[in-house]
Symmetry: C2
Subunit: 405 residues, 2 copies
């Protein structure tokens, strides 16, 4: 008998029929004798629809109230699923984020889980009940409803798995596992049986989109085996763990890509004195994620720094930086839109220094201009024109033999 | 400067446009310098739509989970209205039932407010904020989400008015006041300027539908002036208070009617020994509302008792009574569906013993058979065939001169 957390995303619970399928799947696991906690997202496009309603009122809705609004989505799914399971004779109850004891910080629309006491859930499990918990939401210490931001239901699932000491956390989704690249765009993409947390973390951060990065971080920190599975078919999926079995000695294990990147370049108007940190502190305080940062100091030219952010953050980034321009001592030099990021990821890369060179060489042969570069121990990212993104991803997938099992 | 509770029902917040109108109305009151608490229902038919989703799964959904499901409706309305008001520059925040400190009993789908601490709301009012509270919902002492049953948002509004010491509680609705009868069916129905709590209580209990009975009870107990107003036009509405100014010495002040009544008749198989109480205790414990009870003991016949319930309670009533039939010592003798109740209401009736006789006489002249009768100090109700309901209401409205101001 195992303790299992089963997480179902929006597409898996997008209709009454699909909720019925999920109920049968949960019943099946319960009948095997497992203790089951289910974490659900809002049905289909519900979250988008609710946000759309608010956006009809104003472009800048109160964040606290947006959390109030969006938190209803999961509550609808979980109660319908509980009704379904109870009607199948499986004793079930649902809990909102605050009822499940999920305590977050005070950052509305993008809060982080600070604390999760698994006791209440465990009590219900011991009473042989299936427990359904609303994903994506929690309560701050002030009693305010908060949401974890997009993909937050994954985080809820892993946090619960850690809090109750689950044996595995199954993330059911509309893909049947993690692929070497996105099979919709990269024709030879192949499903991976195993992947390391860190590799997934890079892939998630780089926009592979299957799992929320915070969920993977949580899983890594608490060593929770995480399995990505299809909610439609009975397949094995991909297991994330600390260290994977070596698979054909592949150095690169995946190619990720992400569109809608903007590059901002600023020029210092006063001598460089710590304002680099101040700029990024300002952006961080306003919850604008900066990805790649390139500092370029050339003799005889004013010093500049370029950094990439997501397209949707552009207006707010410019707004907050404009206000601080005088204090921080810089001017905007340039910004370029219509960019994309393409990355290769693999934990073996650290001992293979030639990987980056091989990547640049191939991109050069493909006549794809590289606008920015960023490297870590297990990945190399390049920023390229958005029009070249798919071409670059396919070329690199081929270059590093990812199609071969 | 007054403290005002403004309650808007589902039809008043049925679309984004209507929510916009409500926001402007609230803004107007706020700009007059009043302290404002707004109580909202779910948008339009949202509650019905949610219940419909659950009914696609099963006819007997878990009540606890239904409360989870239905409570989302008000939460959507209140956050959208808060976003709207904030965007108009009126500082506003919304509170769920549990956040507002509304403590109820544990009866899911039909809970009663046990306690309401107005302190949190008052703190926000003192900080010059408009506070929006979700109607219809609360939290039990065990931390479970509960709902107050249909029309419960009215109760929420009055309970809040009492808890914060409001000067008036305005119930905005799709009618512009309380009428002598339902103007959709009774052609000469006329709006009343004033009405006593007790009269409204009888009208509400009798299905006049404008206000929830519990709300009127609350208002009566705490002497909160309650005003029924139109959410579409600026009219005076009807004020409910303890004693109204005498209006043409009218004895009867309203004619109410309610369809879908069922009459059950049971026959005792054992000598009568307290089982009458047992039967109604059993029904009450299962939250089946019994309305009129007629006991008939005729020499030489087995004793019978007839009582009326709502049509939707019929299957559950039969179910719970069948289980206890042997213990309680009775058999089902008869049941009749397709009935309706028609009532005349007026606090002057207590000193006019001829009113009931005048009512029966007119019904007899109209050839309308009377199946059951029930009287109180301020009303007389008759159960008649549903097909005669509208005819009876119009006849009685005419009989007691209600069309004349």
């Amino acid at each position: 008998m195992s303790k299992i957390v089963m997480k179902f995303g929006g597409t898996s619970v997008g209709s009454m029929e699909l909720i019925g399928n999920v109920a049968k799947r949960v019943q099946l696991e319960k009948e095997k004798g497992h203790d089951i906690v289910v974490v659900v997202s809002a049905m289909g496009k519900t979250t988008d629809d609710l946000a759309e309603m608010a956006s009809k009122i104003t472009n800048n809705p109160t964040k606290r109230e947006m959390d109030m609004l969006l938190a209803t989505g999961e509550q609808v799914t979980m109660s319908l699923l509980a009704i379904q399971l109870n009607s199948l004779g499986v004793e079930t109850l649902s809990l909102t984020g605050w009822q499940a004891g999920i305590v977050t910080d005070e950052v509305h629309r993008n809060s982080k889980i600070k604390q999760l006491d698994g006791q209440k859930i465990n009590e219900h499990l011991m009473a042989n009940r299936v427990v359904i918990v609303a994903g994506f939401q929690g309560m701050s210490e002030l009693g305010e409803i908060t949401t974890l931001g997009r993909g937050g239901s994954d985080t809820t699932a892993v946090a619960i798995a850690a809090a109750i000491g689950a044996d595995i956390c199954d993330i059911y989704t509309d893909v049947d596992g993690v692929y070497t690249s996105d099979p919709r765009y990269v024709s030879h993409a192949r499903k991976l049986e195993q992947l390391e947390y860190d590799e997934m973390l890079e892939l998630a951060h780089l926009g592979a989109g299957v799992l929320h990065p915070r969920a993977v971080e949580f899983a890594k920190n608490y060593k929770i085996p995480l399995r990505v599975r299809s909610s439609y078919e009975e397949t094995e999926g991909t297991i994330l763990k600390e260290e994977v079995d070596v698979e054909n000695n592949l150095v690169v294990r995946g190619v990720a890509f992400e569109s809608d990147i903007v590059r901002l370049t600023i020029e210092y108007t006063v001598p460089f004195n710590g304002s680099l940190a101040s700029i990024f502190t300002t952006l961080a305080n306003n919850h604008i994620d900066v990805d790649i940062i390139v500092q370029s100091i050339v003799e005889g030219m004013k010093p500049t720094v370029s950094f990439s952010i997501k397209k949707e953050s552009l207006s707010e980034a410019i707004h907050v930086l404009e206000k601080k321009k005088q204090n921080l001592g810089f001017t905007f030099a340039d910004f370029e839109v219509g960019l994309a990021k393409v990355s290769i990821v693999g934990s073996g890369m650290v001992s293979n220094p030639g990987v980056a060179a091989q990547m640049f060489d191939r991109l050069s042969k493909e006549n794809i201009p590289v606008k920015m570069v960023s490297t870590s121990e297990i990945k190399v990212s390049v920023v390229v024109p958005q029009g070249n993104m798919i071409q670059a991803a396919n070329a690199l997938h081929d270059e590093f033999d990812l199609a071969i099992n």
